[in-house]
């Protein structure tokens, strides 16, 4: 953990060397999700509601998913560029160091300009939360934080799984982008608007729904029944992460250097 913070401060200082460019890109990173959110906002302006969900409820969903995405985008992008590490044979160097591979890959790239995205997500979350008629309790706030954490673990897990595939294919895979970007686009809206099959995949295969839609039902007071069950849903994110970690271990064990 200490090592990870060392990596963090190192990356932060190196990125701060190009101050003007850093702020420009950070600002750009506010604008990207801002444009996406403006789209959602305008659509709600046109249609009023989305199958029983109001703008503020959907915005909460949007905020949670984008918060989780930007967190993993900031801290776990090392897995995204992992293909280069394997193809170049540089992964060997990581293996001979007396530290875990995961923390080293994580530390190989931390992009602080993603704070822009986080900031935008935080603003949307705060705005939606303050406009909602529902009463805020400690349990609900806890669930919300829990959801963001679970979501971050899922996005990171998907990146890890994609990186693990590099051990077999040497190249990066586009499918990871479909799952990550597509998953983000899809789950920024409540899941019940989609086809049943999408709902099942997003709950049981890649548990995006467990960190956004299902617990949100509880937060928004749309459920009756066992609240604790809904509150615990985001744990599926941790479960998914553990699974990815195991697959990663498996991949590392059968890694053979490209030799160059």
């Amino acid at each position: 953990m200490k090592l990870f913070f060392r990596y963090m401060s190192m990356h932060f200082r190196s990125q701060m060397q190009y101050r003007a460019s850093f702020w420009m890109i950070t600002f750009g990173n506010v604008l990207v999700p801002f444009a996406a959110f403006a789209g959602v906002y305008f659509l709600f302006g046109r249609f009023g509601s989305l199958q029983g969900w109001t703008l503020y409820e959907a915005a909460l969903c949007f905020g949670v998913i984008h918060m989780a995405y930007s967190l993993s985008d900031c801290f776990a992008r090392g897995f995204d560029t992992f293909a280069e590490l394997v193809a170049g044979g540089d992964f060997d160097r990581l293996l001979v160091r007396p530290r875990g591979t995961v923390v080293q890959v994580l530390g190989s790239k931390i992009d602080f300009t993603r704070f822009g995205h986080m900031l935008q997500a935080a603003i949307v979350l705060g705005w939606a939360a303050s406009r909602l008629p529902a009463e805020w309790t400690l349990a609900k706030a806890f669930t919300l934080a829990h959801m963001v954490a679970g979501g971050t673990l899922i996005f990171t897990g998907v990146m890890m799984l994609a990186a693990t595939m590099c051990f077999w294919t040497i190249e990066g895979l586009e499918i990871a982008n479909i799952v990550i970007d597509g998953g983000r686009e899809m789950t920024q809206y409540p899941l019940h608007i989609y086809h049943r099959a999408v709902m099942i995949v997003c709950t049981f295969v890649i548990p995006f729904g467990c960190v956004s839609y299902w617990p949100l039902l509880y937060v928004l007071g749309k459920t009756d029944g066992n609240a604790a069950l809904y509150m615990m849903m985001p744990l599926a994110g941790a479960l998914f992460f553990v699974f990815s970690l195991l697959v990663w271990r498996l991949g590392v064990r059968r890694y053979r250097s490209t030799g160059s």
């Binding site: 420009m24 890109i25 750009g28 305008f42 659509l43 982008n177 608007i193 086809h195 999408v198």
Partner: protein, 267 residues
């Protein structure tokens, strides 16, 4: 003219080599198309108000947008050209016996076309055979189709003219990342890449009317579905041509300014 044509062809043929990337692109574009359509379908399902476009028109808008993504996406840029400017290799380009603006224009057009040709055909075939409500329905008349193809072609030239301005701006900024990002995102939003222009609120629509961006994306795709009737489309194409002329002249002018004060970086 021959030189420009051959550099265009060179780029085109090079681009055709990346087949694996094209398949991956098709898969991505296809899944995004599905997601967007599902979202719109949900909005339409129990909407209290009458929306400004029918669902079929939105569906065809989305599929065309996905199919011709490489053709009309503003953010797409040529890193080689940036590298030329930043590294100083621009000196070689200046030695060539042809105008830099037209040369780059041809290059960019070639890259865009080759990226799209490989992707659009499979994607359109998939979109046409899908079940309702995901199916891409044919345009209402042959006139609409002809007008669509024309407006799409001019729209692409417009996008290239706009992106030429981005490329030229690097002569001043030397760092493409920030400014390109800002210009690209704003331009795409105003072009109707995120939501079609009729879905925007009125105040924004009025603003968009006065900018060139909507003529690159929103206009051709709505001509296809007949949401913009043929008569209106013909005048629209005229507006497109005027914008194109303006932007090319502006681009030439900026390029000349840039050339006068160009500093070749490095050795």
């Amino acid at each position: 003219m021959n030189a420009y044509l051959s550099v265009w062809r060179l780029r085109f043929v090079t681009g055709l080599q990346y087949r694996a990337a094209a398949w991956a692109g098709i898969a991505t574009q296809c899944s995004f198309g599905f997601i967007f359509i599902m979202v719109y379908a949900a909005f339409y399902r129990n909407s209290a108000v009458k929306p400004p476009m029918s669902l079929d028109e939105v569906v065809s808008y989305i599929w065309l947008q996905q199919a011709f993504f490489g053709l009309i996406a503003l953010w797409f840029r040529d890193h080689d050209l940036f590298r030329l400017i930043v590294s100083g290799n621009i000196a070689y380009e200046l030695c060539r016996p042809c105008g830099l603006y037209s040369f780059w224009f041809a290059k960019l057009t070639g890259t865009r076309l080759s990226r799209t040709v490989l992707r659009c055909v499979p994607l359109l075939i998939i979109a046409v055979v899908l079940p309702q409500p995901y199916r891409l329905i044919p345009p209402p008349s042959a006139t609409s189709l002809v007008l669509f193809v024309t407006s799409l072609a001019i729209g692409m030239l417009l996008v290239v003219a706009l992106s030429m301005l981005i490329h030229i701006s690097v002569f001043w900024t030397l760092s493409p990342a920030g400014s390109v990002l800002l210009f690209g995102i704003t331009g795409e939003f105003l072009a109707g890449m995120v939501v079609p222009v009729p879905m925007m609120p009125l105040w924004l629509q009025r603003m968009v009317e006065w900018l060139p961006f909507r003529w690159t994306v929103d206009f051709p795709f709505r001509v296809y579905s007949g949401h913009i009737p043929p008569g209106e489309a013909a005048t629209g194409i005229l507006v497109q041509l005027i914008w194109l002329a303006l932007l090319v002249v502006a681009g030439h002018w900026c390029m000349r300014r840039a050339m006068r004060r160009v500093v070749v970086q490095g050795g």
